[in-house]
Symmetry: C2
Subunit: 134 residues, 2 copies
Amino acid sequence: MQKQIHGRPYEERNNKPHFTPCAPNAVLARLGDKWTILVMSHLALAPGHRLRFSELKNGIDGITQRMLTLTLRNLERDGLLERDYFPEVPPRVEYHLTEMGASMLPALEGFTSWIRNNWPNIEACRARYDQRNA
Amino acid sequence: MQKQIHGRPYEERNNKPHFTPCAPNAVLARLGDKWTILVMSHLALAPGHRLRFSELKNGIDGITQRMLTLTLRNLERDGLLERDYFPEVPPRVEYHLTEMGASMLPALEGFTSWIRNNWPNIEACRARYDQRNA
DNA sequence: CTGAATCCGCAAAGATACTG
DNA sequence: CAGTATCTTTGCGGATTCAG
């Protein structure tokens, strides 16, 4: 396992940590985790790209409070969304995409359109592969 | 035609989007794993989109034989590359992108260009976030 | 309502040794 | 050269409980 600090991989060179720049994998790893795309998609569709915690929780089937919180924290840390806390009773917390977060949507959509077009073929390839190795 | 965003079909339930488990996460999860992007990038740059096992192994820093084999098997299963075995002595195995695999490169490049443009900002956001929570 | 704090199981990933 | 087999370790994600 490669050493990591703050989610960033690095290697030891001459007893000193040397960071290896690997941005694409870092971003894709986040998007590829179990819940991030679902959170981003919900915010993409929401009016003002804004939803409160409970709306996300209820809208994403099967997600636990813990995983939703962790996913939101990571996206907030990356600057893709912002957290708005309203000290009411009961408390209310809203999340909205930042400008950078919203700017990612077209690029992401462009890539996922490839997936949309090729997914049936991928599934067919998997089925054939699994059949050959049965 | 079913409603979709980011390649993910969804249906309206109580005026809210409800996503059905599907393709984009499956593909992004594969691309986002530790080695897949590196393998795809090396093949993208290679003449004829073709490299032998040892070239990939030597070109990808830190990858183990086991993980390279697993990564290649998964990509082969999805139909993104093909394995060519030459029964020589010593044996030689080459991997090359399929037509579908090559067709993914422009879309992927379009998305990763966003990453390149925004990566410095993401890093700055992370640094600020970590500083605030120190 | 929106989290944080623990504990735990399981699958993924690394290390190492062996093989056609 | 290009894998497979086995063992060990790591870390994600789920379940549950507590708190502001």
